[in-house]
Amino acid sequence: MIALDAIRDCLEGVIPATVATCAADGTPNVSQVSQVHYVDGAHVALSFQFFNKTRENILANPRAAAAVIDPVTGAQYLLALEYLRTETEGPLFERMKAKLAGIASHTGMAGVFRLRGADVYRVLELERVPGRERPGTLRRNLLAALRACSERLSRCTDLGRLLDELLACLDEEFGIRHAMLLVPDGAGTRLYTVASRGYPASGVGSEIPLGCGVIGVAARERTPIRISHMTLDYAYGQAMRERAAAEGLADKLETMIPLPGLADSRSQLAVPVAAEGRLLGVLYVESAQEMRFSYDDEDALVALATQTGMVARLLQEAAEGQDEAPAAARAAPPGGAPLTIRHYAADGSVFIGDDYLIKGVAGAIFCKLLRDYAREQRTDFTNRELRLDPSIRLPDVSDNLEARLILLSRRLAERCEFLRIEKTGRGRLRLAVARPFKLVEVPA
């Protein structure tokens, strides 16, 4: 039998598939189906969009036949199927729902195509219909790209470098020019951008709610979400604006840093980064080209995301293991007019002059560094003391403090030329101050 993963190009929904069933009395039925989705080497899922005869038949007689076509070569394959179950929520359902949204908008059926369920079938037989298909397009072997990236990632020694290297790898080895990495906040209700590549503004610090767009759904369901055509169903701008309008001031703050993104994004893929069963982040890539990301790209990025997650966990452990007291460095006070830095207790936001810098835990870390500096001209700190500091209130012991420090140092680098956070070693950092400042605590 042909391996099911060898015909995944036929399962992108480019050419509608056909499915045949038989009623209990033997009457055949045949209809088109928008999506035959690859589940694994032995299963496919068909999009269940309407209550119809196909539906009635498979519940009475589980055997089905499906025909799928390679959109480039014209090769045709027949699948003998056995219906197993219908999933109406969860990772598979969300993957198919997102993909269907892309197919629907591409074919002018937005608002008509709606996924009611993912009908999962076992593939009993797969055969090629004899024919004279034309040659396929020559594509690069993604395993070679994956191998090169994997070697590069294994050489990274700190988290910031790892994230940047991952995005550089995608660009240089996979030709994926637009990418970003987001990590969940402590409560797990939002994700914020810590690294990006290929956009005019980095968007570091921008946030999206869990469940919003392909990134938010990938995070919520812990599953890759891939769309091959432009669709408004998963657009961020609209959802973000509605949310900001509904929730008032606090959420306006969250939209102060615009999420980077292509205005004409036609292909999108979001892949969760997880380790030890916990979500560490989401890797998101996009392209203005339709059908840019295939099942193979998805597999490659899942493998890369998995490796990134493991390396990130190792680096975090190593950083937290450093327990030396920081050197008692004292900085010479800088000259110049003092900057006013305000910390608002109401929402934890920090403004340098009138410019919004950051909020939340990263804002609390920043204020702790500033207070210690103001009190004793202290410049050197360890991750460990920040984790233990009660004024920072890290949401939990496994919180990715390092990601918050990356966010803070990158926001500072983009927004303020007088204050800088530098890594001085594993689990250690230094606050560099080039101008005096005045920290104003604004009570709620």
């Binding site: 088109q32 969009q49 014209g74 090769a75 045709q76 002018g108």
Partner: protein, 178 residues
């Protein structure tokens, strides 16, 4: 033979009973639509084949589909054993879809005229899906049948259903007025 009309099943329809497809529907079936036909094999297992064109008889009581023998061994066997057939016709540019069912399907040898109908269909279908970004070469690879390989599958439609995606999908097509 059975004829289903508005839920009633009538044995051997007299010629006064109108065919279930009207002239506009017949034109649709003859047009650049994608066509697949299914039948039933042993064990109530469905078999499926993609067709390369359709013709409709003058009185609209019989439709003939074109298929490749070399690609249709299982279907031909199933049709010979059961005579059951269901065919779906779908226009790619609009998604308008229709299913016909029959219980007297027969495999035949094409008449000279059939080869012309088939050849015109392949070109028309290629033109229909060209704006959707599919190459003519791909369509020919998918649908072309060598003359010696061409077979026909003809049946009398006894039921017709609209399958255009949407709330009306699956509804019986209203029979044409007499």
């Amino acid at each position: 033979m059975y004829y289903i009309r508005r839920g009633f099943v009538v044995q051997s329809p007299p010629m006064s009973v109108p065919p279930p497809i009207d002239e506009a529907t017949a034109a649709f079936l003859r047009g650049p639509v994608s066509i697949s036909v299914a039948s039933r094999a042993a064990g109530n297992v469905p078999v499926l084949v993609r067709c390369s064109g359709c013709s409709v008889s003058q009185d609209r009581r019989r439709v003939t589909l074109y298929l490749a023998r070399s690609k249709s061994a299982a279907l031909i066997e199933a049709v010979r054993a059961t005579r059951a057939a269901a065919a779906v016709f779908s226009l790619p540019s609009s998604h308008r879809s229709l299913q016909l069912k029959g219980s007297d399907a027969a495999i035949g040898v094409p008449a000279p005229r059939d080869s012309e109908v088939f050849a015109r269909y392949v070109e028309a279908f290629a033109a229909e899906i060209d704006p959707l970004g599919h190459s003519v070469e791909m369509v020919r690879a998918l649908l072309w049948i060598d003359p010696e390989d061409l077979a026909t599958l003809a049946f009398t439609p006894i039921a017709a259903f609209t399958q255009t995606p949407g709330p009306g999908a699956g509804a019986p097509l209203r029979p044409a007025a007499p």
